[in-house]
Amino acid sequence: MKVNVTVNGTVYEREVQPRTLLAYFLRENCGLTGTHVGCDTSSCGCCVVVVDGGRAVKSCSMFAAQADGHEILTVEGLASGGTLHPLQQGFWDQHGLQCGYCTPGMMLTSYALLKQNANPSEAEIREGLAGNLCRCTGYQNIVKAVQQAAGKMREAVSAGR
């Protein structure tokens, strides 16, 4: 079957099997390998993408067919031009990543979280990230990274940027 999915602003029209998962569609049909797969049970969150601007979705739990006509944001679409997104900058500054495998999913879940709550508390961040597993960092620096990003994004809003 044919699907028409907008990923990071680019339209991908592709022939897929009905059983093709969005995660594999992104990785294999669109060549966007920043979306990772770490489990078979939608437990790990390595594959999280943002759907239609604000909803964090585990792309292994959605068929490519269900994404037909929708807009997807993946890690490859976070930076604008040469500038890192505040979340990317936060993860870098606060050592919020080690092996990097969970990082795209972490950042996209955080992206959706900050859309809903521009000034989350530590507890709210920890709750918001509870569907994303990390084996390396112990989450503490990830929380700091999201806090830094939230602060920078609020500053940018109040400066009218």
Binding site: Q17, R19, Y24, R27, E28, L32, T33, G34, T35, H36, V37, G38, C39, D40, T41, S43, C44, C46, T74, V75, E76, L78, A79, L84, Q88, F91, W92, D93, Q94, H95, L97, Q98, C99, G100, Y101, C102, T103, P104, M107, I125, R126, E127, L129, A130, G131, N132, L133, C134, R135, C136, T137, G138, Y139, Q140, N141, I142, V143, K144
Partner: protein, 780 residues
């Protein structure tokens, strides 16, 4: 948090990681991200039975599945002389694909190659295997009786794999018998799994020159190259192993797995690239598990709490094949570190290992070969002794610590501890946690019947394997290596035989070079994991990278500095002897105004080298003179809910001594991560098998990884006693928190429950186990 190095000084700086941008942009290159024209996918057929005879394998239906190109079985591999794979420490071999029978549930039985991932999976479903179930041996104690012989393929007709022992058995027995106080406890370190988020996988193909190009999730690419040459007969120059970015390893990516061999065989047979990526279930059920040591710990002491003797007898469950990746002279790893941080005058440790119908492994999960098991045994034992003697757990440790002035300290079991200041480390930890106030709070709470516990662990590790006279894998000595090239502009490249899986080598290795040579670490590129370019090394596991390759990098840099001094003398128009290295520059002795920088010397090395050999590069193979001994004191504070059995870790302080710190931000990150894995092992994780040999923890809904919600907040601190024999004094840190923390958590829970008479609970300490212990204590 992070800063940038300035003025040449790079060691000890919390420099932001150089490798991060590609990961932040989603441009990391993990094995599953690789794709080659005509690439096939491999899926494995696995056994549903833990022990069964294979009567027949029918591949007819599988070959009819659209897209399936080939199916191979154990018989095909056996005919090609590839039926069995030697395990890394050389005592055993394992089947690549089952031959005649299966020995554990999820064992590899057949390999299906197809055009797409989906077709390969469909093909694997269609393979028909006729099994005849055999009696199952699901634990080492049953195995011991030899009623069912699991491995008739071996010469020795027994399930007993080995007996290993160290220390003075008779003197230990005598000392224990004459000790006024003795404790004895069976302590099980349960079977667990490293479960890195990226599963294992590979892509194999033969290029137009007939060379095997093998991209693989390997923590030890050079060892893979040599092992593949030995197993397959392909000349070693025709094998190129590349470890690209690795999504966590933790020991899981040290062994060579059957899927890798099948991918290579498929690539050769079909003439197309083959990709194999295991699923999470395959990862948890068939690749290297860890621990599974049943340890009988016995400690003798005087009335005053001076330890007199230690005996530990261990029954080890190794699964179907002995695939523990231990150095060849150490079948039980470095378990002899079990005397810990204490001055035991005499000790004896022994391990007996057995086959069972479980997955093979026994790998060093974020651990220097069984050091975690040893550390847990002694740290639990010391707490049980403290309880028996009625002495405060911190005070008992203080009385028995090796003193600062006793280093280098020869332990009763043959190690020479390099350095440490255990008393200061303990004091730092107790002060940070507010120990006295906590004891007061605990006394008040106990009076009210509330359950609060304080748990200590004051561990010593032994890492950095290792000196060539003791340590080898498949005969290859466990040195490591570095090659540094400084380019004309003062930028450079360092290559090492190690392989980062998230540890941050691309940053920390550059910092060592920058510190030694006064160059900018931002312009020192680090490359690892490519056997065509990197010098031979044994890889990254067992906290060995900084003790071995880190040392090799410093030594190679010093070789470069020696050569650079000659060129500097030429530039400064003085003799070599009149040049000194000071403040990251060459200077004419006693004339601070006459200097040249390494950058200037680098340019001259290619443009104006006078009579010196052109170029500026060096290689160093480092054979460590001793192991390093990172140590630390961890304190956990827990509150236990009497009604539900829920344990809440209220605070956790970790004081680590890893010697010289290269990058404090990276060190802290390693500690946070290791503590989280220790927390998981203490409270959540176990690979359980039922009595019929069924694996009960086959995915992340049953094998739990802590989330951001459960994970405690970590507080870290340090003492620094540099290793006297390491070129920069560093000891390694990646594993300390995983080695040291399980005992702190368990000791805290048992301390909370001790007023009820609870003496020990085996990990994982689930709510259910705590609730039962409380209720049994009430009834009893």
């Amino acid at each position: 948090m992070s800063t940038q190095p300035a003025g040449g000084h790079a060691l000890g700086v919390a420099m932001k990681r150089k490798e991060d941008p590609r990961f932040l942009h989603g441009k990391g290159r993990y094995v599953d991200d690789l794709s080659f024209p005509g690439m096939l996918y491999l899926a494995l057929v696995r056994s549903p039975y833990p022990h069964a005879e294979i009567r027949n394998i029918d591949i007819v239906e599988a070959m009819k599945v659209p897209g399936v190109k080939a199916v191979i079985t154990g018989k095909d591999l056996e005919a090609a002389g590839l039926g069995w794979l030697p395990t890394f420490h050389g005592f055993d071999k394992q089947m690549v694909l089952a031959i005649g029978k299966v020995l554990f549930q999820y064992q590899e039985v057949a390999a299906v190659f197809a055009d797409t991932r989906e077709a390969a999976a469909d093909g694997a479903e269609a393979v028909q295997v006729d099994y005849a179930p055999l009696p199952v041996v699901a634990d080492p104690f049953t195995s011991k009786a030899d009623k069912v012989l699991l491995r008739p393929d071996r010469e020795q007709k027994t399930n007993h794999i080995f007996h290993w022992e160290v220390g003075d058995k008779d003197a230990t027995a005598r000392a224990l018998a004459s000790s006024p106080k003795r404790i004895k406890q069976r302590i099980w370190f349960q079977r667990c799994h490293p479960a890195p988020l990226e599963p294992c996988g590979c892509v194999a193909y033969f290029d137009t020159m007939g060379r095997l190009q093998f991209h693989v999730t390997s923590q030890a690419p050079h060892v893979y190259r040599t092992a593949l040459a030995l197993v397959t007969g392909i000349p070693e120059d025709k094998i190129h192993v590349i470890s690209p970015d690795i999504g966590g390893g933790f020991g899981n990516k040290v062994p060579v797995y059957p899927g890798y061999v099948c991918a290579i065989v498929g690539g050769l047979k079909i003439g197309r690239p083959v990709k194999w990526i295991e699923t999470r279930t395959e990862n948890l059920t068939s690749t290297g598990f860890a621990r599974d040591y049943h340890m009988d710990v016995e400690i003798g002491a005087t009335e005053e709490g001076r330890v007199t003797a230690l005996h530990v007898a261990t029954t080890a469950d190794h699964g179907a094949f002995d695939a523990a990746a231990d150095p060849s002279k150490y079948p039980a790893g470095i378990f002899g570190i079990v005397t810990g941080s204490y001055t035991f005058p005499v000790a004896h440790a022994e391990v007996d290992a057995y086959f069972t119908n479980k997955a093979p492994g026994g790998i060093a999960y974020r651990c220097s070969f069984r050091v975690t098991e040893a550390s847990y045994a002694i740290e639990r034992g010391m707490d049980i002794l403290a309880d028996e003697l009625g002495i405060d757990a911190a005070e008992l440790r203080r009385r028995n610590f090796i003193k600062k002035e006793q280093f280098p300290y020869p332990s009763a079991l043959g190690f020479t501890y390099d350095s440490g200041d255990y008393h200061t480390t303990l004091d730092t930890a107790l002060e940070r946690i507010g120990y006295k106030a906590l004891l007061k709070e605990q006394a008040d709470k106990r009076a009210r019947g509330e359950l609060m516990g304080i748990g200590l662990s004051s561990f010593t590790e032994v890492v950095g394997a290792g000196p060539s006279k003791h340590f080898d894998i498949l005969g290859i000595k466990m040195f490591d290596s570095a090659e540094i090239r400084i380019h004309p502009t003062g930028a450079g490249i360092v290559r090492a035989g190690t392989k980062s899986q998230g540890q941050g080598h691309e940053t920390t290795w550059a910092q060592i070079v920058a510190e030694e040579l006064g160059l900018d670490p931002q312009t020192i590129m680090v490359e690892e994991g490519d056997t065509d370019t990197a010098p031979y090394g044994l890889g990254t596991y067992a906290s060995r990278s900084t003790p071995t390759a880190g040392a090799a990098i410093a030594m190679a840099a010093r070789r470069i500095r020696d050569k650079a001094r000659k060129i500097a003398a030429h530039l400064l128009e003085v003799s070599d002897a009149d040049v000194e290295w000071k403040d990251y520059k060459f200077q004419v002795k006693g004339v601070p105004s006459k200097t040249v920088t390494m950058k200037e010397v680098a340019f001259a090395a290619y443009t104006n080298m006078a009579q010196n050999e052109p170029g500026l590069e060096a290689t160093f193979y480092y054979d460590p003179p001793n192991m390093t001994y990172p140590n630390g004191v961890y304190v956990a504070v827990v509150d236990v809910d009497r009604e539900t059995g829920e344990v809440k870790v209220r605070r956790f302080v970790a004081v680590d001594d890893c010697g010289t710190i290269i990058n404090p931000m990276v060190v802290e990150g390693q500690i946070h991560g290791g503590l989280t894995e220790g927390f998981a092992i203490a409270f959540m994780q176990e690979i359980q098998y039922d009595a019929e040999g069924n694996n009960l923890n086959t995915n992340f809904t049953d094998y739990l990884i802590p989330t951001s919600l459960e994970t405690p907040h970590w507080e870290t601190d340090k003492t620094v006693t540099p290793s006297p024999h390491h070129p920069i004094g560093a000891k390694g840190v990646g594993e300390s928190p995983n080695v040291g923390s399980p005992a702190a958590f368990v000791n805290a829970v048992i301390d909370a429950l001790s007023p009820l008479g609870v003496r020990h609970i085996d990990m994982p300490i689930t709510r259910d186990k705590v609730w039962r212990a409380i209720h049994e204590a009430r009834r009893g």
